[in-house]
Symmetry: C2
Subunit: 631 residues, 2 copies
């Protein structure tokens, strides 16, 4: 192996599509594999890599392929097999022909001069050649590109107890781990192990999500979410259990300290929760679904920007979600998730100033927007097609005719298209947005109620919070209108409460934008602090303060259906960073950012946050703020 | 395993796409894998199968999946894993969720009542559900759908000789075989074996196409084309070689006997040649390329109809060639191969009266034709895009501007579209065809030369045979014009000869249509008889009567580049059957066919030929003809 900068290379996006498919097919529940229920996008199975060299001297190189790859190397017209050292000199044209049915046809060119660093193009026999892609995870020729490299950390149980003649072990936190289960009693069979996010789940051998039997050779179980593990039939003297936590290297760079220890702990547990959900992609939860959902990913973008500043996981997730053109179905089958993908790409590219990613995604944004615009009715409102899911939230919307919230999303997405488009296209999107906004105003704004109504066709004038919140979050309404909405909707107890933490993200964001920081802080301490009081070490998919701990595990009609480590529960990181510490982009500032610590919230503050790839240390003593970029 | 009619089921077309990709990636040459150089279409990796039952009693069933398949079975909302017996009764709704990255996600439902026979639908989360597909090859739950089942027949060598201390064995015919190589000398290493279609190739260890080392456990080499095998270093007493010919079950049903033994032998060797090329798909040749070419497949359709009457291999080939919509590149990258695919589907559906296949392919025909029509220039002529290959034939065309032969193909394809279209669309295609024919007449017909010229833009008025032949074959010209073309082109020694057997198919077809049977018969005896005289036991990709045997093996600049067992060399079967025996469809006849034995060619004739799925025995005594359909 040479000392070159060689890496595995592939057709841009295809590694993400391959691993995205693997991820979406990886869900298991009570012994049943449960692949995601939407159109799953394939990768290109036949590509060719090309590069020209003017060699200063004779040199050698070797080409390796992904598992199962078939192909050959051509040097100035001569053919060579893979995995064999090839010598050449002078002016050479190197092509690597690669085909693979079951894996992305990535290759690794290993050599001192001729190697797969930058400068290779790749062609899919359909579109013009493009620069080949690579990443920091796949840099060694011995790697298998079908397996994402993980770091590993060993955990011993923090508690072991005998239950009904078996052994229950507890770990300090939820993990995504391979459990090692070593029977200590002579001649004992390898036991079945039952896992749980809660003690109750692990002990419920009939209904827990995961059970498994260790591999006879390695004694390890498959990598799964686990905090508690129960081994029936072997008492604590007869079995040793430990966990090998396996995780993708996406380091958390942020931390937060103020005088409120509860808030500090909320930030810390949120960071830990989110970090566990940062796998190859942003996952919704580590136990469930492990599918890549666009709506969940959208919220993860906001947390991730402040917490890890790792733009690659954002791009991997957005790339895998979108798939290839032509686009015929909505992301995750959900129309609003297609809209949130558009808004998410814009958020990502603007947060990091990443014009390259935008340039790559732009045609995909355009074609997805074209699909959305093709679904407008006679009045210009977006409606679902027969197999589309118009979701917005689990809530009792008046779904007669076009749904207002969906139109607000579309207006917001048209707004970012107008902002990001090349000048000659911007006018088109701006015009579509303006026309839609007028139609929303005409059809959905109810002046008497001071609110957007769900439906104008039913005559019921039903108000939910959703469209009203989104209109504020996406800055589609003026200050006066914002105030009316706050009064008539957000602080109106007659309007049904938001019940999902998913949409609570938008509601809290809207409240922050309107300056209701005290109310939001109270909510953070009550809701997230409430989970801490019940002993949570990771934040949950949902929390009902009315229920005792033992009744917190059910969801979706399943006794252990609730995820106890869920990405969207990390939103305090975003809310605290953006609105309370007040760190945000500022193109007008020499540093590129500004810090406006919220008045009257903190007595002191010392934290480090990421922003647009920077890491900024912020110290505040109640009067003055110091902010400095860390190396 | 039950006694049901269960079979493996999959999304229609996807098994063909999976195996087509495997086929197109299977070419090997001198140790290099050589996957086909065109856009390779993937199969759907996530589908769901559904069926409702009203069960008369309690019953059980088990679902099996393709290798690597992930999924679950749902019965009225309850989930079960694969590979487990499920009991149910009453009214049940069964769904099988299936995901697989590296193989078509086929499933097998095994049970007495609930089983994967007909009646299941399959859904790809994009288009409306369709009936699931199956075939006669995959009927047992133990089968792997990633491996096409083959029949096997053992061959001992017909000759063994010592050459340079090694052993050369010869088989009676070319085979697609796993060679078994068993060293007989104590302690001998497993040798490398060199294969050849000719003795010369097998002995040329540096330049032969295939070499391999037997598997240490089975002593077998991979399945490859072989007639001769050379084992250096082990003399005939030290090694035993035999061949296990592996072939797809596509039985030859036709045979031909007349008083001319040479003609009988030509039919027999052509049938044997063609049969060897009938693999999972129509292959061009058994040694090379083993890619699925549309132009070659088109000619195979005509032979196959008379020889095997197996409509499934025709459909498999056509389905695999076409891939999924949207279509963005031409089949095999060649514009005329897209046109030949359209003509081929029409030929197939009309020959077998297969409306179901036509109904399935029609949208794919329409979209491919739409792509072709989108490539017309201002005058309505079809031209290649930047990465398209306008092939027609290896010949010195005047390629300035649109090429005449390509327009003739397009007119023919528009003609079949008009003929097969639903009434409301037929007029459109007819109008396009008529307009194109007028433009061809105006721009390409040269009255003075009595011929279609290649190019009207260059001013060179260059005549090749191709467009003129195609105009006759596709019946686009009147009798008078046909006669002029025969005189001015076909029998004009100044017009360059057709040099490829590929296009000789069209030329001989045209000559037969014009009634020049004696000339065609002379050509068959000279060209194919010439190969027999050189000892051919299978017919070659090309034959030059001027060259001695040892100079017949080179082609494409490669000393062993010529395929010695090539499908298109089987065309005498078609020509003899259709024009000499004169068996063809006749809707007006009560039998659905008619036989018109050509006058003055045969003194007697006894043969069995296929037609539209029938098998017909024809006996002729020089005066009267008896024809009877066989069971």
């Amino acid at each position: 192996m040479s000392q070159s900068d060689a890496r595995w290379i592939w057709y841009p996006g295809d590694l993400e599509l391959f691993h995205g498919m693997k991820q979406n097919f990886s869900r298991v529940e009570r012994g049943c594999a449960w692949p995601a229920f939407w159109k799953s996008e394939g990768f290109r199975q036949r590509v060719v890599y090309r590069r020209e060299y003017e060699l200063p001297c004779r040199t050698t190189f070797t080409v390796y392929g992904a598992p199962g790859l078939l192909g050959y190397v051509q040097v100035n017209g001569d053919k060579y097999p893979l995995n064999r050292t090839i010598a050449c000199e002078g002016r050479v044209s190197v092509t690597v022909h690669a085909a693979c049915i079951g894996c992305v046809p990535a290759v690794y060119v290993d050599g001192e001069i001729i190697c797969s660093d930058t400068g290779w193009t790749v062609d899919d026999y359909c579109q013009p050649p493009v620069p080949a892609a690579s990443n920091r995870y796949f840099t060694h020729p011995e790697q298998r590109v079908d397996t994402w490299p993980m770091l590993e950390r060993e955990y011993e149980p923090v508690g072991t107890e005998e239950v009904n003649g078996g052994t229950l072990v507890a770990f300090a936190t939820e993990l995504t781990a391979q459990l090692e289960v070593r029977p200590l009693r002579e001649g004992a069979d390898l036991p079945t192990v039952y896992l749980g996010e809660s003690r109750a789940e692990a002990l419920d051998t009939a209904l827990c999500y995961y059970f498994c039997r260790p591999d006879p050779r390695t004694l390890r179980c498959p990598r799964q979410a686990v905090r508690y593990a129960y081994v029936p039939g072997l008492n604590p003297d007869e079995v040793a259990v430990r966990a090998f936590h396996q995780y993708v290297d996406v380091p958390v760079r942020a931390w937060f300290r103020c005088e409120d220890e509860e808030l500090n702990r909320i930030f810390e547990v949120a960071a830990h929760t989110f970090s566990l959900c940062c796998d190859v992609f942003f996952l919704d939860g580590v136990k469930r679904d492990k599918w890549i959902w666009s709506g969940d990913a959208y919220q993860s973008l906001f947390v991730n920007q402040y917490l890890t500043g790792d733009r690659e996981i954002e791009q991997r997730t957005l790339t895998a979600l979108r798939g290839n053109d032509p686009v015929t179905t909505h992301i995750n089958t959900i129309v609003d998730y297609s809209l949130l993908w558009l808004l998410g790409v814009a958020e990502h590219c603007e947060a990091y100033g990443d014009r390259d990613y935008l340039r790559w995604m732009w045609p995909k944004m355009e074609s997805l927007m074209a699909l959305l615009l093709s679904q407008r009715d006679d009045e210009g409102f977006l409606v679902g097609r027969e197999r589309d899911w118009v979701f917005v939230d689990w809530a009792d919307f008046d779904r007669d005719g076009p749904l207002c919230a969906e139109q607000v999303y579309l207006a917001a997405a048209l707004g970012v298209m107008a902002r990001l488009a090349p000048p000659e296209q911007a006018a088109y999107y701006r015009e579509q947005r303006d026309r839609l906004l007028s139609a929303i105003e005409r059809r959905f704004w109810d002046e008497e109620k001071g609110a957007y109504i769900d439906s104008f066709t039913s005559g019921r004038r039903h108000v939910t919070r959703h469209a009203n919140i989104l209109a504020i979050v996406f800055e589609l309404v003026s200050g006066d209108r914002q105030k009316r909405i706050a009064q008539q909707v957000l602080f109106n107890p007659e309007v049904p409460r938001i019940t999902t933490p998913y949409f609570r993200f938008f509601e809290l964001d809207a409240l922050c934008r309107l300056g209701y920081l005290r109310e939001v802080l109270g909510e953070i301490k009550a809701y997230w602090g409430g989970m801490l009081k019940l002993g949570a070490v990771t934040f949950w998919e949902e929390y009902d303060p009315e229920l005792p701990l033992e009744r917190q595990y059910a969801m979706y009609g399943d006794p252990y259906g609730k995820s106890l480590c869920h990405a969207w529960a990390a939103s305090p990181i975003y809310l605290l960073s953006r609105y309370f510490v007040g760190l945000r982009e500022d193109a007008a500032s020499p540093s590129g950012y500004r810090v406006n610590v919220a008045d009257g919230v903190f007595r002191r503050l010392d934290c480090t946050l990421c922003l647009g790839g920077r890491t900024v240390r912020i110290q505040y003593d109640g009067i003055t703020t110091d902010a400095a970029e860390l190396p």
